[in-house]
């Protein structure tokens, strides 16, 4: 992958800034269907155990509770200050962990663990400890230094001492929601957090031995301007986090109830949004960050940057990762799993999820078994998103196809992007250009069979 361009391709982003999926999975969750049930899931787990050298495991634990509603949020969450619901949730979660743990052969190591939300730190220390203990009883958690055990934290719910406690529990990576430090923006999205405290917590995480500290920022929030966001970036850069995710806020109030609390007039116009993105990218690159792809930046010495160079980068539901391929077990309401050639998602309503567990059933809502064509395209799209290139020969050998014959339509669809300088296409492969790096989704979309068959995609968030 080549490094990002210095001149910002505003026009092209305007042109290609259409709706598009993020490709944390292919096929995307839109293709999941309820015909894929608990039994199908169990079968895929069995296949995965049967393999000669089964893949190690990743666990995703969804903790949906939040004290307050952030108006931009599009996650599956539950906002309540009543702790009873959350306590009950954890009881069920432990039952689910136990049920899932029984399905996987006991020698399969968990090398990756992620607590996401919601707000995982909504729960108190003892509760988090108890989840970890249950996980450790039911799965073989890796003790290696190279394991990636991460937790999302809301700086409003932790202090320095708690950060230390999370490290003691075994977490070695942390991602912290910052979004924006501007008080007016914070007020407009109902997430008021102290700038100085957030920065102090980053330092505390380093002191506690976290390998990697990642910050999440969001651009396109109400009342943001290029200038105001620059100030946030400047402030963040003083703490020099190892990784930065700069997400685009997609204002879709018709889909996400919380977003109806945001005054649509306050949301920056597309050209302002682009200004913000342009100045953010150039600031981060200037500060020495490597653009990994999509919304992610990392310091050059961070594993992600190294993996990008080696071509060993992976993409999963949490974004980018350096772990070798794992089977992912999704735990908790609405959590998504990826086992062998399948995806599965848990019931998204807490009541339904609990009812299933009460019945002794796995709370599988829907999913998908990948067919041969899906598997091929999954790898093509991963190559675009992670390596920024496709070598035809590799796919021809592995999938026994003639690439340019198999993808004749796709290569045709790619021509305008080639003319616009997003990719270069040769007889041997496709290379994403520095300009194209900013528009990976638009390139990947040309290989998405389901999109090609159904060119609508109105409900996707904007590419940029």
């Amino acid at each position: 992958m080549s490094s990002i361009t210095t001149s910002f391709p505003t026009e092209l982003i305007n042109k290609y800034g259409l709706a598009g999926p993020r490709y944390t999975s292919y096929p995307t969750a839109l293709q999941f269907h309820e015909g894929f049930d608990e039994e199908a899931y169990r079968r895929h787990v069995q296949y995965s155990n049967d393999e000669l050298i089964p893949r190690p495991l990743s666990l995703y634990v969804h903790l949906p509770f939040c004290r307050e509603l952030c108006y931009y949020c599009a996650c599956n969450k539950k906002v309540t200050r009543n702790r009873q619901g959350a306590d009950l949730y954890l009881e069920y979660l432990e039952k689910e962990v136990e049920m899932q743990g029984k399905l996987f052969d006991s020698d399969r190591q968990v090398i990756q663990l992620h607590f996401g939300g919601g707000t995982p730190t909504y729960h108190d220390d003892l509760q988090l400890k108890s989840i970890i203990e249950q996980l450790s009883d039911s799965f073989l958690l890796s003790r290696s230094n190279s394991r990636e055990f991460s937790i999302e934290i809301d700086p409003r719910t932790v202090n320095e001492e708690r950060i230390g406690y999370l490290a003691d529990l075994g977490f070695n990576r942390v991602s912290m929601g910052v979004q924006d430090f501007d008080p007016a923006v914070q007020k407009a999205v109902n997430r008021i957090q102290d700038e100085e405290k957030s920065l102090r917590l980053i330092e505390a995480a380093r002191q506690s031995g976290f390998h990697s500290v990642s910050l999440d920022l969001i651009y396109g929030l109400p009342l943001q301007t290029a200038k105001s966001f620059e100030k946030t970036i400047d402030s963040v850069l003083t703490a020099r986090p190892d990784r930065l995710s700069v997400y685009n806020y997609a204002h879709l109030p018709h889909l996400f109830r919380a977003q109806r609390m945001i005054n649509s007039d306050d949301v920056p116009a597309p050209e302002v949004r682009l200004q913000i993105l342009a100045s953010t990218v150039s600031k981060l690159v200037e500060a020495g960050y490597v653009y990994i792809g999509m919304d992610h930046f990392a310091l050059p010495e961070d594993e992600l940057s190294i993996a990008m160079k080696d071509g060993t980068l992976q993409r999963n539901f949490q974004g980018y990762s350096t772990c070798r391929e794992t089977d992912l077990v999704g735990l908790g309401v609405s959590a998504i799993g990826k086992v062998g050639n399948s995806f599965s998602q848990n019931l998204k309503d807490i009541g339904d999820w609990q009812a299933a567990i009460d019945d002794g059933r796995l709370p599988v809502w829907r999913g998908l078994s990948l067919n041969g064509e899906d598997r091929l395209r999954r790898e093509v799209i991963a190559a675009i998103m992670c390596q920024g290139q496709i070598r035809f020969g590799e796919f021809e050998r592995k999938f026994k196809i003639d690439f340019s014959e198999h993808f004749v339509l796709e290569l045709e669809l790619l021509k305008p992007l080639e003319d616009d300088g997003l990719v270069t296409v040769s007889d041997f492969g496709i290379e994403v250009t520095p300009t194209g790096l900013l528009l990976l989704r638009a390139i990947a979309m040309k290989f998405d069979e389901y999109l090609i068959n159904d060119v609508q995609g109105k409900s996707y968030s904007k590419v940029i």
């Binding site: 155990n49 393999e51 000669l52 050298i53 052969d105 020698d107």
Partner: protein, 244 residues
């Protein structure tokens, strides 16, 4: 044959088989018979319908009447030990004969289950015996096949390390696939890691650990249930066998 047959008979109708046309003709029982004798033999063969993975053709305790020659797919035989644990006795590939262990007690000792979509040729043991009396080559072939079984069992009961056991299994499968016209270097295993572990009397995790070790030493490459043998000589050395 077998107990699952209450669902659907294995041999829905009498299908005339042509052993002489069979791709396994060089491996299977009638291989030493001449054209006329083969035709006679064909009369005692019953071709099964497709047998689905997980379907049993014999159950322990079934009355012994039939032996089965694998036409396609793969089977495993197993017993349940007194702790209720499954113990895998062996795997059967096309051209191999299942059921000889039942002769002396006239009852099947083992459960035999398909691992892939498979099919078999059923042979009434009474008819086979009858025919073997008249055709010494057939009798000799029966003795040869049984002897091979015994020899393999003796070899596997030796005191072997996990590496040796696993290398031997890979060698044996490679050889068996090759003699069936498949690649000796790259094959898909129908059996699970657990089945292999049970058969070799090793822990499940040992199978993966040893295979991973072989892989990082460049001897094999594993992808899901597919094995590619990259360094045949090293594998033979590990198996302490001349042939692989």
């Amino acid at each position: 044959m077998g107990s699952d047959s209450q669902k659907k008979p294995y041999f829905p109708e009498r299908v005339q088989v042509a052993c002489s046309q069979c791709t396994l003709a060089d491996l299977c029982l009638p291989r030493s018979l001449d054209a006329f004798e083969t035709e006679q033999f064909e009369h005692i063969v019953n071709k099964s319908r497709p047998i689905q993975p997980g379907e049993h053709i014999f159950r322990a305790g079934d009355k012994f009447q039939t032996i089965a020659a694998v036409r396609a797919g793969c089977f495993k035989s197993y017993v349940i030990d007194k702790n209720g644990e499954e113990q895998v006795l062996g795997f059967y590939l096309p051209g191999e004969i299942i059921g000889f262990d039942a002769i002396h007690e006239k009852t099947h000792r083992a459960n035999v289950v398909a691992l892939d979509t498979s099919s078999v040729c059923g042979l009434s043991f009474e008819s086979v015996t009858e025919m073997a009396r008249q055709l010494p080559q057939l009798q000799e072939e029966l003795f040869r096949v049984m002897s091979l079984h015994i020899a393999e069992l003796e070899a596997s009961s030796a005191d072997l390390s996990a590496e040796e056991r696993i290398a031997r299994l890979l060698c044996s499968l490679s050889l068996r696939f090759a003699s069936r016209g498949y690649s000796a270097k790259e094959f898909n295993l129908s059996m699970s890691r657990r089945d292999i572990a049970s058969n070799l009397r090793l822990a499940t995790e040992t199978i993966s650990r040893v295979l991973a070790r072989f892989q990082s030493a460049g001897i094999i490459r594993v992808n899901r249930k597919k094995v590619a043998i990259l360094d045949e000589n090293r594998l033979k050395e590990l198996a302490r066998r001349d042939t692989c």
